[in-house]
């Protein structure tokens, strides 16, 4: 009775719209917020509405609209949106309206709804703390679920990236690696475990990731990428993460990304230092704009020879995961045209500006794809210094 009286008072004070009126305003650009809990959204929500549960409304409304903006609220059948509207008015939002009859009436009147497939009860609970973020919400989660991301390498960079991307709900997560788990990997390659030494890394990765999040599809490619297979493998994916541990693969990854129009999320580590950047689809700049060609082996030792502090690829791999999430959801600003350097000794990050190389043979305007390069022989050949033509 107390509630009925309260709702009656609110109906007198708060503007009410029919679903059709709200739909017209929504189409004209006005904000409509669905204040139901994430678990209730699985049955569909008004197309174009933003999800922000009543629980989080007051804390997060300023991220969606300033107090002077017009805001429409909708809930399941009506009462909750009235109470939520009252909350907003107390916060200083004067132009708040509610949709009478809620989503139930919205649907009965045949107005458009979206049914986000990723949000079943399990997903609503699993992703609750990122669904809460207005920038992600149900639409962002659906984008993550629809993403197809390939990690090149299930090692020091691929491990943290894979764990967090799987946990975040990337729908299809692929891993390429032809190595087996060794004990010396375990200080940094946290996908794997001591009792899996000798397993293919792809099998170990699958076991860990499916155990972490059974809602996603993990696909494994136990092979070494080369010019004959790279396009077949890459063509099923939309975002590539370069976590490889050698120059020949890094150049193949770059060149295939340019050729196939895929973004390349780059990370590399050595000793106490790491680098991360995102090369957009089509490059400009691409990895070759930054480093046109690989060094001779004596100029740059590999990770296994040089050593690396395990937390360094941990940090860089997670920055790569963050880049993927930003690319997949469209939230924030990816590291395109920027190179981030991390120095673990001083715990300093440095951001450098990268521009396209107008002479880049792979991504410069008007350049025809020059083909893949087999650097395996080139890198291992002795006396590269003598081969350099620009000396």
């Amino acid at each position: 009775m107390v509630l009925d009286r309260r709702l009656a008072e609110l109906r007198d004070r708060i503007r009410q719209l029919t679903p059709t009126q709200a739909h017209e305003r929504l189409t004209a650009g006005e904000l409509l917020i669905d204040v139901r809990e994430p678990g209730e959204l699985a049955q569909g929500m008004p197309a174009g509405a933003r999800a922000l549960s009543r629980n989080d409304l007051e804390m997060c409304i300023n991220e969606l609209a300033p107090p002077e903006a017009s805001v429409m609220l909708i809930c399941a059948s009506g009462p909750r949106s009235l109470l939520a509207a009252d909350d907003l008015r107390r916060l200083g939002y004067e132009r708040v309206a509610v949709v009478t009859g809620g989503v139930e009436r919205w649907k009965r009147e045949g107005l458009p709804c979206v049914r986000p497939e990723c949000i079943d009860a399990d997903s609503a609970e699993r992703y609750a703390r990122q669904l809460n973020l207005p920038e992600i919400g149900i639409e962002g989660q659906a984008k993550l679920a629809g993403s197809r991301v390939l990690l090149v390498g299930a090692g020091g960079l691929g491990s943290p990236a894979a764990l967090y991307l799987a946990a975040a709900g990337i729908g299809t997560l692929g891993l390429v690696d032809d190595d087996r788990v060794e004990r010396s990997n375990l200080h940094r390659q946290v996908l794997h475990r001591d009792d899996r030494i000798g397993w293919p890394k792809t099998d170990s990765a699958r076991a860990t990731l499916e155990g972490l999040n059974p809602k996603i599809e993990v696909r494994t490619h136990q092979l070494r990428l080369d010019s004959s297979n790279i396009e077949d493998v890459f063509s099923d994916y939309r975002i590539i993460v370069d976590g490889s541990d050698n120059f020949p693969t890094r150049y193949l990854v770059n060149d295939a990304c340019i050729r196939l129009g895929l973004p390349n999320v780059y990370g590399a580590v050595q000793r106490f230092e790491g680098q991360v950047s995102t090369f957009a689809a089509g490059g400009r700049p691409c990895y070759r704009c930054l480093f046109a060609e690989p060094p001779a082996p004596d100029m740059a030792p590999s990770c296994s020879e040089a050593g690396v502090l395990g937390a360094v690829p941990g940090i860089i791999g997670l920055l790569q995961a963050l880049e993927v999430i930003k690319l997949a959801t469209g939230v924030g600003e990816p590291l395109i045209g920027r190179l981030l350097l991390f120095d673990a000794r001083t715990t300093r990050m440095r951001e450098l500006t990268l521009g396209p190389d107008s002479g880049c043979r792979y991504c410069a305007k008007g350049s025809d794809f020059p083909g893949y390069v087999d650097y395996t022989e080139f890198c291992s050949a002795p006396g590269r210094e003598e081969l350099e033509t620009h000396d």
Binding site: S244, P295, P313, L352, D391
Partner: protein, 90 residues
């Protein structure tokens, strides 16, 4: 005074130094000074012919010198020249 900032990989070739202070008016002069003090470190950055190696980038005021005047990019007192080589580890 110009500060040349060396990456981890090149420090063993410069007696472990993270930074080398030199007097120079442009990037080429700074690297010549580096070569006088630590010839092997310079050789990892420039070819014997004096070109920047294709796996190395040089940044002045956080910008790639290729977007400026390359090795002729002017350095002013207090500038730092950052050496960024490619690394492959993963």
């Amino acid at each position: 005074m110009i500060k040349i900032e060396l990456p981890d990989a090149l420090r063993p070739l410069a007696d472990g130094a993270r930074e080398i202070a030199v007097e120079a008016g442009n990037v080429a002069e700074a690297l010549d000074e580096l070569g006088r003090l630590h010839p092997e470190a310079r050789l990892r950055i420039l070819t014997r012919g004096g070109q920047v190696r294709p796996h190395v980038n040089l940044f002045v005021r956080e910008r790639d010198i290729r977007s400026g005047d390359g090795l002729a990019t002017v350095l002013e007192d207090g500038d730092s020249l950052l050496v960024v080589p490619s690394v492959a580890g993963g």
